[in-house]
Subunit: 285 residues, 2 copies
């Protein structure tokens, strides 16, 4: 089976890498960046590079792994061209707008809307790593709008990457992801900016930063291209989450100013409860 991967960055490249050595699979790559294509070949992420037209016409499975704004643009064009034997998968981090875009498309049933929950703060084909998806979760949205064979093949592909798939509506997906992922990225980007802004003396960041800072600003290294599209596509829920976050910070600032240590202590104790929830996550791994 030929699997075509459109967009060979962190996610597309990592999927490619895990599929590359599976028996009977030929991984065909496409990327608008010639240097990404070259790197993908060099790192043996893909067997061949072909045009997007080739992939659309020939590949039994087409995986779209580009920023979410571009997915929304190219997905309908790809569905226009495929036969009813092909499968089109996307792996974007927002689902509502993308799903809405193709809801009435005559080939909607050949499309499966997916979001494998995995990643790192790095980007590009150099960032591709094998095993990125192992024991992680995958979400499929609007399962009922996809043909059964398309869903089954998608499940097999994600299973071969080591993922467990869950089903959620696109709106639910975007809401929950704004809370548990997108907000973390805003928080981290702006923390990075604040530290760079306040700490004019970079030597001191270098000297004094500990593992605490490294962990909280890790996501600030993420790709602006990927994340500006996600924030725009999911603006409603991201804004809601961000407003809530700012109001918690404002409240904490007031407590500090009022020297109300008892109240700020209590808020930190409530925040500690995230330990219990996350321990559940770790325990399940």
């Amino acid at each position: 089976m030929q699997i075509g991967i459109i967009g060979i960055g962190l996610i597309g490249g990592s999927i490619a890498k895990d599929l590359y050595n599976q028996i009977g699979i030929e991984v065909i790559g496409y990327d608008t960046s010639p240097s990404h294509c070259e790197t993908a070949l060099h790192l043996q992420l893909v067997h061949r590079i072909e045009s997007i037209e080739y992939i659309t016409e020939k590949c039994e499975t087409i995986i779209i792994a580009v920023p979410v704004d571009i997915i929304a643009n190219i997905l309908p064009l790809i569905l226009d061209k495929i036969s009813d034997k092909q499968l089109v998968l996307d792996v974007g981090s927002t689902k509502q707008k993308i799903c809405a875009k193709v809801k009435a498309h005559p080939r909607r049933n050949r499309y499966v809307a997916a979001h494998p929950l995995a990643g790192t703060e790095f980007s590009g084909p150099e960032a591709a790593i094998s095993g990125l998806f192992r024991n992680k979760k995958n979400i499929i949205c609007e399962r009922a709008l996809s043909a059964k064979d398309a869903v089954d093949l998608s499940l097999k592909i994600f299973q071969s990457l080591g993922m467990h798939t869950y089903f959620l509506g696109p709106q639910e997906h975007d809401k929950h992801l704004a809370y548990v992922s997108h907000l973390s990225h805003v928080s981290s980007f702006m923390l990075g900016l604040t530290v760079l802004d306040l700490e004019k003396d970079e030597k001191q960041i270098f000297n004094l930063a500990s593992t605490g800072l490294t962990s909280t600003v890790r996501l600030a290294k993420s790709s602006p291209k990927t994340w500006s599209a996600i924030f725009e596509n999911n603006s409603e829920y991201v804004e809601e989450a961000l407003e809530n976050y700012i109001s918690h910070l404002e409240n904490f600032l007031q407590l500090l100013k009022q020297k109300d240590t008892k109240a700020s202590y209590q808020l930190m104790e409530e925040a500690n409860d995230i330990k219990r929830v996350l321990n559940g996550i770790v325990a399940e791994k």
Copy 2:
């Protein structure tokens, strides 16, 4: 040499653990919590538990590893009792108020104000790990106010833990630490609270949280006792940092609302620059 450690939590316990097997050192512990004392003995962090009076009178070196508000309270009382052959070290995360408290003390020269930059989000003696300080940085403040032999012995102790010591004024220390460490903790505590607040459905945090959330809210698991004292002791700089952070978040929120993707993209690109600074840190490790 008898080294007395007052407060056997994450930091005191980890210091104890690394000193425990060094030739010629007997580690004497004290903690107000009887269960901490029991655990410290059981985990072989300390050779013996003694009273604070015993430690003050008998130990050549006394390391104070309790929350910073308590350090400020007990440090003068300990200095009152020691001879001019003993060394008193504190390892608190703020230095200005503690140093000010003993500036005019007749035994000021037997005290060394230190801050080993290391830790985890866990607390208590169970959280003590060996090697916590290896290849990390230590700060000593007001070196000139400590006797040379006291500084030399302190340097030896931190060196035996694998640390490199730098010298900074207490005000500079507190300012930089607010930027590169304390703000990260506020950010993470409030992020934890926001996620718990927005995401009433804990099962979804559990299902959907990825490594991104785990990393940004990690510090939200930290001890409220330790951190409320740090925030109170360093309120001026923490408030400044937090105000700056909130204004960056507010600005980002406005850009999202205005759908000004170009401007938000640019901010994320600026934030990416933290990569360069942190890579320096990683490279040096």
